[in-house]
Amino acid sequence: GAVSLGQLVDWLSSFRDAVHEHGAYLTELDSAIGDADHGANLIRGMDAVMAALDPAPPTAGELLKKVGMTLVTSVGGASGPLYGTFFLRAGAVAGDATDLDGDGLVALLRAGLEGIVARGKAEAGDKTMYDALAPALDAFESALGGGSGVAGATRAAADAAAAGRDATEPLQALKGRASYLGERSIGHIDPGAASAALLVAALAEAVD
């Protein structure tokens, strides 16, 4: 099945709900190895996104670029430019599309992830949002390759993102402010990996 513009909006709306619901948890994680603002940052950002969204956007590209720009100008911190760039790059790839098949969705998410890497230089195992997003995309692609539909593939992606999030716990952070803690960053889940897992879970929910 194809993913409609409406479902993309649902994705964002469901992510907004998720950061509200889990905002305190995200901030709690950020308190342990960061500066206790990740929840507040994403709540502010996603509230701004939903307020700025055209309820009937003409194309996926316009929709996603608007999301990216809004995040860039409302979040700040590390997660603002990173999630912002994710959506800006995804939007650039989505272009005039008004609905997306599985491959289209993958291309868009892949471009977004590359944007995050271009911006933040994170590598696998650095203990960042990358460690949830990268396995999610891999799982998405192999599920599609294995014959899953989009819904099934996004569920596989969400599971992989959650696993990637949990796998950040034993890591020592090498990027972002958690890296200043050195070995003390070990033993805590990365807040950005946790919010990234929420983002992928929201996608699975929206296309289900």
Binding site: N41, T73, G76, P81, L174, L181
Partner: protein, 331 residues
């Protein structure tokens, strides 16, 4: 949480109202959260902007004025400002000689200023960026985020601001800013955590008998948690890593001992009374000093030491007139 605030999400907007009310010599753009000089500097001079998360006051807004910054971009508490703020500020303050962006080395700050630089690239305003990274608590490494930018940012804004004010061009201003950053080192410690308004409780719990060595300015835990000690020993633990990291031998030093927001001046002077002789003993001649709250971490109790290896030129620029809310002399 006990704070003099209204709603946590309004802290920055509300505080900027107070800045505007208290400082007619500043102009506050409430929509974009930028603090400008009410009277811009003369045409043809390099402009300086800085910015970062709020909660470090007087940094940066308190350093806007003749002799220091032209504008400060204010982010949410502990959250770097957004690129549009820097783009706007850069455009407004440029007097035709280019703009220096002063950025503390945090991933968020660096990325947001970087995006701003990209966005402003086509506008014809020449922008250069100095990223401060003076915190010796964080081991430097090419594959990590590098050291944090802390206290040297204050000294840099003062010294480089003076150079810009006297008409040095952007290349000279940039070179000077690199020199200052390269010659300054800082080390911080905390007796307590702080409370981010949106979080509503202390970022971490620190037992009565423990302290954190090697903290930054975002209420984060430090590099090491150790048993609490007296001021004399704390002074040693601040001075030692600073001196171990840079050869100061024989040169004069400009020294700042900044409180982190919750420590009273009495204690800061007391600690400085321990720090100064240690520096002198190590051959650093303390020629200028600042003791007080200059770069803070909300209501955290603690202090950070910054030592800048100086020379006649840096001392001359340090002594040049400055008229800001947070630093003021010679005018």
């Amino acid at each position: 949480m006990k704070k003099l605030i209204n709603k946590p999400e309004d802290v920055l907007a509300d505080a900027l109202k107070g800045v505007a009310a208290a400082h007619p010599e500043l102009r506050v753009d409430h929509q974009h959260r930028v603090i400008y000089r009410a009277e811009p500097k003369a045409d043809g001079k390099v402009a300086l902007i800085s910015g970062g998360g709020s909660g470090h006051e007087p940094l940066h807004g308190g350093f806007v004025g003749p002799g220091m910054l032209d504008a400060a971009c204010c982010g949410e508490v502990f959250t770097s400002p957004t690129p549009d703020q820097m783009v706007g500020a850069t455009t407004v303050v440029d007097r035709g000689a280019g703009v220096l962006h002063i950025v503390k080395n945090y991933t968020g700050d660096v990325m947001n200023f970087e995006m701003a630089g990209e966005l402003v690239a086509d506008s014809g305003v020449r922008v250069e960026t100095i990223v401060t990274d003076d915190d010796v608590a964080v081991e430097d490494s090419t594959w990590t985020a590098g050291r944090r930018g802390v206290g040297v940012t204050v000294l840099l804004e003062k010294i480089v601001g003076a150079a810009a004010e006297e008409g040095q061009d952007l290349d000279a201003v940039l070179a000077l800013s690199r020199r200052v950053n390269g010659q300054g080192r800082s080390m911080g410690m905390a007796l307590t955590s702080c409370t981010v308004p949106a979080a509503g409780k202390p970022t971490f719990e620190l037992p009565e008998d423990q302290m954190e060595m090697g903290v930054g300015i975002h209420g984060e835990p430090g590099r090491h948690r150790v048993p609490i000690a007296g001021a004399a020993e704390i002074a040693e633990r601040l001075v030692e890593p600073v001196l171990a990291d840079l050869q100061f031998g024989g040169s004069p030093g400009i020294v700042m001992l900044s409180g982190l927001g919750g420590t009273p001046l009495l204690e800061l002077y007391l600690l400085f009374g321990e720090v100064a002789p240690l520096l002198e003993k190590a051959g650093v001649q303390v020629v200028r000093s600042l003791v007080g709250n200059y770069i803070t971490s909300l209501d955290m109790a603690g202090a950070s030491l910054t030592v800048l290896k100086a020379d006649d030129e840096l001392v001359r620029l340090w002594d040049a007139p400055v008229r800001t809310a947070g630093l003021r002399w010679g005018v």
